[in-house]
């Protein structure tokens, strides 16, 4: 196992360590003089506490469009996962592989067409 993936593991460890180094360096040399105004949430230069109660809640109500695009993305991502091994093996397969993949893709293109027709691809 290690002879094949050991290096990936080392890269993964380095990927975790590398960004910590500049943060530690900065932690050593930077000044630290917090005050109340400085550490308020940024609100275009206005004092956050003066806001009415409702405006202080940063929780914005997001529209369902976000979810719909994420869903489309998930479905296409999965489709691609099946496409990849097929594409690698394509050279050694026959016409049937092409037909099967066209059927597979065709069904998903239907989904895209449905979303298009229903206006779900519009970001308004």
């Amino acid at each position: 196992m290690l002879d094949r993936y050991g290096l990936v593991g080392i890269f993964a460890v380095m990927a975790l360590i590398f960004p910590v180094i500049p943060l530690l360096m900065a932690w050593v040399v930077r000044p630290k003089k917090p005050n109340k105004t400085k550490s308020t949430t940024y609100e275009c230069g206005l004092a956050f506490e003066d806001f009415p109660e409702q405006a202080q809640n940063v929780w914005v109500q997001f529209r369902v469009q976000y979810y719909i695009f994420a869903l489309l993305f998930v479905v296409f991502d999965i489709e691609v996962v099946f496409l990849y091994p097929w594409a690698v093996a394509y050279d050694s397969l026959g016409l049937f592989a092409l037909v099967e993949m066209v059927a597979f893709l065709g069904i998903l293109i239907l989904a895209l067409a449905y979303a298009w027709r229903k206006g779900l691809l519009e970001w308004v």
Binding site: V29, P31, T41, L93, L105
Partner: protein
């Protein structure tokens, strides 16, 4: 030229032999071989990262100089000759800036977000074929590894947006995630074209397959499908790393600075570094997949890869300086109504053309 081509693999073999000599007899044979390969892996990883840091510093300088040239200015010219040391001065400035964390932020998530944004950029380096015999790990599925690792980055964007507990950050973060995932779809679809052309997912084999015609048999030249695939890939690459004209998640005139708003000092610096790392890496993958990677006449392979990557980087800078920012609805429409259908059609065309070419059952 063989000397330059084999410079780094030769160095690797030399250090490897040196370490083996060093540890021989001091410990059991199996411990020794594991220890030596671990040290070698560490050396490879660290040198890859240092290489990237150097490239990114040069890239930042280049970007500022380029922007200045296009906008008829001089650009940085005070620190060092031609302002060459400007990125270093920037780094020092970032190091000594105070780190401000808003009181009602989710502090842990706020701290971890830049790390999550940065880590995939380093991890992706593991599969890049830097030159002949210079691939850290030749995974069977290197291409898929690169795409999968790239998709972790969106979690970092989301964490930054959520962790700051600020309207602008949250809005920028959510928009950013929606944008990145939307552009990932045409990108992964168009990459299938490359797999079909090369018949493999190993990046090493993909580069080897582009070695004909004195190293000029690039996938982009497999007309017309290669060129279409490259254009889609490049547009998506720009959108994936949030470069202009797709930088509306940090559109300072609309949502202050998006998920960056509450970041300062080195945490902000890490986001900035991650953005440049990702841009360079995605250009490197573009060069590997479409422009023949390290293949090329006369010059050593690793130099070819650097030259090709910088060509793509420079193209990105030019686009950034020329085009205005997209609107968010145009952005999503463009991804789903133009790029995805074109990528799908291109994929079908490629598989039919290859079928005809190979004469499989037709």
């Amino acid at each position: 030229m063989d000397i330059f081509n084999n410079l780094f693999p030769g160095l690797y073999d030399w250090i490897n032999a040196l370490l083996h000599d060093w540890f021989k007899g001091a410990m059991p044979a199996d411990v020794e071989s594991v220890l030596v390969s671990a040290i070698m892996a560490l050396i490879v990883a660290i040198s890859a990262i240092l290489f990237m840091v150097l490239m990114v510093l040069i890239m930042i300088w280049l970007e500022r100089k380029n922007a200045a040239r296009i906008q008829d200015r001089v650009g940085p010219n005070r620190v060092g000759p031609y302002g060459l040391l400007q990125p270093i001065a920037d780094t020092i400035k970032m190091l000594i800036k105070e780190d401000i964390v808003p009181t009602n932020a989710d502090k842990l998530v706020h701290l971890l977000a830049p790390l999550v944004a940065m880590a995939p950029a380093v991890l992706a380096l593991a599969v890049v074929p830097f030159g002949k015999g210079m691939t850290p790990v030749d995974l069977n599925i290197g291409l898929l590894f690169m795409i999968a690792v790239g998709s972790i980055g969106v979690v970092g964007i989301f964490m930054a947006g959520y962790g700051s507990n600020n309207k602008y950050s949250l809005l920028g973060g959510m928009r950013g995630v929606a944008q990145v995932v939307s552009y990932e779809v045409p990108q992964v679809l168009t990459v299938v074209t490359v797999i079909l052309l090369s018949g493999s997912m190993s990046l090493v084999k993909i580069v080897d397959a582009q070695g004909g015609w004195f190293g000029l048999q690039w996938n982009i030249l497999a007309l017309p499908v290669g060129l279409i695939a490259f254009v889609i890939f490049y547009i998506c690459a720009l959108a994936e790393v949030n470069r202009s004209p797709f930088d509306l998640i940090e559109g300072e005139s609309e949502i202050v600075a998006g998920f960056f708003t509450e970041y300062s000092g080195m945490k902000w610096g890490l986001f900035y570094l991650a953005e440049y790392f990702n841009f360079f890496i995605v250009c490197m993958f573009g060069a590997t997949l479409f422009l023949g990677g390290w293949q090329g006449p006369i010059l050593p392979g690793w130099l070819w890869l650097i030259i090709k990557t910088y060509a793509l980087v420079w193209l990105g800078m030019w686009i950034r300086m020329t085009l205005p920012r997209f609107r968010v609805d145009q952005l999503m429409k463009f991804a789903w109504k133009v790029l995805v259908p074109v990528a799908l059609a291109n994929l079908l065309l490629t598989s039919i053309l290859i079928g005809v070419y190979n004469g499989i059952g037709f």
